[in-house]
Symmetry: C2
Subunit: 196 residues, 2 copies
DNA sequence: CTCGTAGGTCAACGCTTGTTGGCAGATTAA
DNA sequence: TTAATCTGCCAACAAGCGTTGACCTACGAG
């Protein structure tokens, strides 16, 4: 709201604080992802970032502000219009798997969303603003878009839950290609198949 | 561990404490389900049960003991040998939906499992001891049982997550029969179809 | 050199948490 | 009636929480 991270427009001297900000955000992502919102304490995050807890407040105002700044909300979903019609399921599953493995932000959002009402609201927002439009591109009947997108969300978030949060051993053992082969047709059917 | 709730075997005088125990457990289930482990405070639970927080400690030893006593672990999964081979998917989805709607215990386990490592371990135990054996009844290749059961868990827990924890509106709007019709074939395929 | 300011530490605040021990009625047994 | 055993409340504890404000230090601009 107040300031942007990259304000290196005209002032060449790169503020020393940029490194600190980054360290705090990295530590926060890790803690939120592994501990959830309540147990990820500002003191622990500050300790990880090797600074004083009060700096976190100075930089991000509050714990909520820190969380908002630490987790990304952009799923960077592919443009399904450029994907062969019968490949959208596999494409989505593959994209989601890449997203979850590339960093811990999504694990953080899911963990927090499961305990915190504000976090749940945030996930509902992601669903509405990012998954719904993509589903609209491939669903036959516009009226069924929300339901079909919700079914996809259930399958994809269920995979993330078992694999990255609960860490069920068999869910972790499955290779990426196996998961795409298993879940791809499911998502494909939820999005494009006629209603059962 | 120490005592059972129903010890009305020979001692007819029903202890007055039984009602209190029950009130505490009911309040605990509600709080754990709606707030998760960390935010469900003993004080709040005691307030709901209209007793002193110290009573909770006397009856259950600790917060962990209370949680263990409050949430059930029995999924009461049906004997799939008695279900027509091509109906097991629909039967499982229907059974799970009933389970989640009949009380809040499963919501509590899921919410806690998502934030608390001990809770996650408990969910892994439920998977191993209750879902795996059932999957073994219908899976063709014994070697694939864990993977196939994990896929089912992902789909079913994903449904629970979106519908009962995150409360995505479209996931809540779907009727029970619609969910069975959509997810039944998916679970059926995960359990019985040949590997993709 | 001086000075304003950004980056950072320290100590404390008010509050909530899980947990404990002591004490008061009620209920039961002898 | 007396003694023992439940059932319960009260007050407090140590620890941890998010958050605040005073203070110190370095440094680039004037």
């Amino acid at each position: 709201m107040t300031a942007s991270t990259q304000n290196d427009q005209s002032a060449p001297p790169p503020r020393r604080s940029a490194a600190t900000r980054h360290a705090i955000l990295a530590a926060a992502r890790e803690r939120f992802a592994s501990d959830g919102y309540e147990r990820a304490t500002i003191r622990a995050i500050a300790r990880d970032a090797r600074i004083d807890p009060s700096m976190v407040m100075r930089y991000f105002g509050s714990k909520e502000g820190l969380f908002a700044a630490a987790v990304a909300l952009d799923l960077r979903l592919p443009d399904l219009a450029r994907v062969p019609r019968d490949e959208v399921g596999r494409a989505l599953v593959g994209h989601f798997l890449g997203l979850w493995e590339e960093n811990e932000e999504l694990t953080a959002v899911l963990r927090v969303g499961a305990t915190n009402e504000a976090g749940a609201e945030r996930m509902r927002g992601i669903f509405q603003e990012q998954l719904l439009p993509v589903a609209r591109q491939v669903c036959p009947d516009p009226e069924q878009v929300p339901a079909r997108a919700a079914l996809c969300a259930a399958q994809l978030l269920g995979l993330a839950l078992t694999r990255y949060v609960l860490r069920l051993p068999p869910a972790r053992a499955l290779a990426r290609e196996e998961l795409v082969a298993w879940l791809g047709p499911t998502v494909q059917r939820y999005l494009t198949a006629p209603s059962p």
